[in-house]
Amino acid sequence: MALNVVVCLKQIPNPDLQFQISTDGKDIRRDSLNYKLNAADEYALEEAVRIKEKHGGRVVALTLGPKRTEQMLREALAKGADEAVRIAYDDPSAFDVGKNARILAAAIRTLPHDLVLTGVQSDDYVNSATGGLLAGILGLPHASVVTRVVVQERQLEVACELEGGLQRVYSIPLPALLTIQFGANTPRYAPLPAIMKAARQPIKELAPSALGLNGWDAVALPYSFGVRGLSPPAAKGHAEMITGSVEEQAKRLAQVLRDKGFVRR
């Protein structure tokens, strides 16, 4: 059975880097950041493409973000998405997950969707909220932290990871929403011809009017949200740091291990 799959992707600053706080204290400095596709979303994208390859259908890669996100959408096209849609919400920080989800939900309503996938979390804001919010807003049954998906006619069998390595298995009717866990599959690399082709593919852009809104400020929210400030975290404690050349550090490490009785002699 062919499936229309919408996979929500987020472009995030590479979290392995170091960050500085902007002068107003309300955002990180974004002038020289290296952006990438959020890691969990890579698994969601791969799962979407595998489902299409096995059962037929289409994969639409959907994002919310400024123009720079087009690069990520092209990567998704090169890896097997059939169509890319960018919601032209240009707030570079977009801290309010509730607002983001309401806009995404409005866009998903305009797309055929038997299955909506997101990553389990984004590594920048680590909310783990977008998928669940979307399911609630769109009225879809859902499952989170999914490590395995089997499509059976008009339903899915999914395994959801719990703490400590336990998994709950559910059967869920379509249409449905899943948040995909790290390691659910092995994401592919895009072949060069596909990268070349994706560079020429059009990316659909959704303005507020396409979602029936008079602007992004017109999104109806049952609350007001604000960022009070960002700061470097106050360290709970800190390791005693051993400096010096590698040889000096090695001597100290060996000494620590001996002193604490982890090495005989």
């Binding site: 600053p13 392995d16 170091q18 960050f19 706080i21 509730g98 989800a101 590594d123 920048d124 804001y125 680590v126 909310n127 783990s128 909220a129 669940g132 919010l133 399911a135 609630g136 807003i137 049954p141 859902h142 989170s144 932290v145 959801c160 990871e161 719990l162 703490e163 400590g164 390595g165 336990l166 998994q167 709950r168 298995v169 559910y170 059967s171 869920i172 790290f182 390691g183 929210l221 049952p222 609350y223 007001s224 960022v227 009070r228 960002l230 700061s231 975290p233 106050a234 404690g237 800190h238 390791a239 740091m241 051993i242 590698v246 550090q249 090695a250 490490l253 291990l257 982890f262 090495v263």
Partner: protein, 326 residues
């Protein structure tokens, strides 16, 4: 009674999750911060045949609201959202508190979506200022702390990171358990529970090890595990890993330390090229001696380590092996 805080207990197979007593601490403090008594926090227990568990939780000296219904025998997102919707509508709390666990962040955002409620997740600390809820969160691999504020007439759904608060123990005396009549339509529970799967262990059990040398993405290549193995052997330890390594199948899943893997308490834990994401730290922070090696001086692992080395882990371990052979 309206206002106050509802906190949703988590349980599996008749046992209360470790995050629930922590959530009780948060709930009491928050109820007091709203200007009320800390007993304006109430514990919600959802399940089937869970009266004993509800009675046990009443020993934490907060009132317990119990929904005991066959449709809640196994956790499902729809079942929890239906039951909580009924309770939230009838009690109109200021805040609904949920632990930020796999189960918690499954139903909490869905509840917020279904009921059109404000939501803030994965919080380390909560405070109240006037009519605002202030949430402290960590972003970008723990490298940035953020304070956000939410103001709303409606109940705010909040998830709290496990480990953020000290758990309370039960105290003397007990409070009441009130059955809440909530109608649940089992046919509207669309996720059907099939089974619970347990990890198959055909490998060493990390949880009993005294010395663990764990590898993370910083070791760069699978081939470099040989060096980690050699180092572990030299100090009588076993090799563990952070999640990315087991995801890539460099090591079996049984070696994964962290929230979704093993929780360990060895005498010595050597973190090799592990940045120290919350998911990993939750599984090893109580080790006796934590030695961390990482090239990034801002890596959060150095916050919880006792001894830290900013170094290329491969070079440092090779050099240390030489030292140990002297």
């Amino acid at each position: 009674m309206s206002g106050g805080v509802l906190l949703i207990a988590e349980h599996l197979e008749g046992r209360v999750a470790p995050s629930t007593p922590e959530l009780i601490t948060t709930g009491r403090r928050l109820a007091a911060a709203f200007g009320g008594d800390e007993r304006d926090a109430r514990i919600v227990v959802l399940g089937s045949g869970v009266r004993d568990l509800a009675n046990h939780l009443a020993g934490y000296t907060l009132d317990v609201l119990l929904v005991d219904h066959p449709a809640l025998a196994e956790y499902t997102g729809d079942g929890y959202v239906q039951a909580l919707r009924g309770i939230v509508e009838s009690t109109a709390p200021r805040v609904v508190l949920v632990a930020h666990t796999s189960q918690g962040y499954d139903f909490a955002p869905a509840l917020a979506g279904v009921m059109d409620l404000p939501l803030v997740t994965n919080c380390l600390a909560l405070d109240v200022e006037g009519d605002r809820l202030i949430a402290t969160r960590r972003l970008l691999n723990e490298k940035v702390q953020a304070q956000v504020e939410i103001r709303s007439e409606r109940p705010i759904v909040v998830t709290v990171r496990p480990g953020a608060e000290k758990p309370v123990g039960p105290s003397r005396g007990t409070m009441t358990v009130t059955d809440v009549p909530v109608s649940i339509d089992p046919s509207a529970v669309r996720e059907k529970f099939v089974r619970l799967e347990r990890p198959q262990i055909h490998d060493i059990d990390l949880s009993g090890a005294d010395i663990i040398v764990s590898a993370g993405r910083g070791i760069q290549k699978k081939e470099n595990l040989v060096l980690i193995e050699e180092f572990a052997k030299a100090i009588g330890g076993v090799v563990g890993a952070s999640r990315p390594l087991t995801d890539m199948d460099w090591l079996p899943k049984t070696r994964q330390v962290g929230q979704s893997g093993k929780t360990v308490r060895p005498k010595l834990y050597v973190a090799c090229g592990i940045s120290g994401a919350m998911q990993h730290v939750a599984g090893m922070k109580d080790a006796g001696l934590i030695v961390a090696i990482n090239t990034d001086p801002t890596a959060p692992i150095f916050e919880i380590a006792h001894v830290g080395f900013v170094a290329d882990v491969l070079k440092l371990l090779a050099a240390t092996l030489k030292e140990l052979k002297r």
